[in-house]
Amino acid sequence: MSNLFSAISPLHSALDYHLERSSVLASNVAHVDTPGFKPKDLERVSFDESFNTALRVTHERHMGGAPASFENGRVFTDLSAGGGKDGNFVSLDREAAKVAANQMRYDVVSAVASSELRALTFAASDARGG
């Protein structure tokens, strides 16, 4: 039986992921002049993968895994930009591009969430507007 909000809950974790990634990227931009700083990034973990690390539900009447252990992404160090003599690996252009792309993805996901909710409003109002 599918839940009324089943289309929206995966979008919830996508929004969380992009919000967390924006913090990580903002930290990289802030450290553009800190000697020895290695930029971090957050990669998306697939739902199955994170589900396997959480408690697996073996019986339908058991309680699910604690949601607090759920991670939206895995942190990795991105050294692909190459470092300077001070050991700082932050490339300002690359980080700016990542920030812009991350924001755009967030906007797309929130627009999709909005349209899902609009569809529910439309159905709830007996298809009279919404």
């Binding site: 990634r21 924006s22 990580v24 802030a30 450290h31 800190t34 991670e71 909005s114």
Partner: protein, 143 residues
């Protein structure tokens, strides 16, 4: 869970650090020809030393929370490179051989640092703009 405000806090710490860097550059440029200081001797150029610091407020329990750190100025370091010696026996600060030691400030170097600091500041501002835009689109969900 890291929220909108931790991203803003981190970006703001970067802006504050770049502003301090801009102040040290302004001090170096203003004192490019200062031969007398309170400590004695010519002015010596200063540099801020940036250091990263984990956020203590929130998000430490998650993996991303440990990856995010704000930046702050650990201390101001003095550049101990020797200054330029100029022969000018009539100068009040000339030594016994008639040489005056001018500050070790290279104006071109300071200009380059200034441009780099202002670009870093602009990048921080655009990161803040992007976070604000994300918060705005989150508020639009369900409208």
């Amino acid at each position: 869970m890291l929220g909108t405000f931790s991203a803003l806090e981190v970006s703001a710490s970067g802006l504050a650090a770049e502003r301090i860097r801009m102040n040290t550059i302004a001090s170096n440029l203003a004192n490019a020809r200062t031969t007398k200081t309170e400590a004695g001797g010519p002015y010596k150029r200063i540099d801020p030393l940036f250091e990263s610091k984990l956020l203590d407020s929130q998000g430490i329990e998650s993996q991303a929370g440990r990856a995010v750190s704000s930046v702050h100025v650990a201390r101001i370091v003095t550049d101990e490179r020797p200054g330029q010696m100029v022969y000018d026996p009539g100068h009040p600060d000339a030594n016994a051989q008639g040489y005056v030691e001018y500050p070790n400030v290279n104006v071109v170097e300071e200009m380059v640092n200034m441009i780099s600091a202002s670009r870093a500041y602009e990048a921080g501002v655009s990161a803040i703009d992007s976070i604000k835009q994300m918060a705005t689109s989150a508020l639009r969900i369900g409208r």
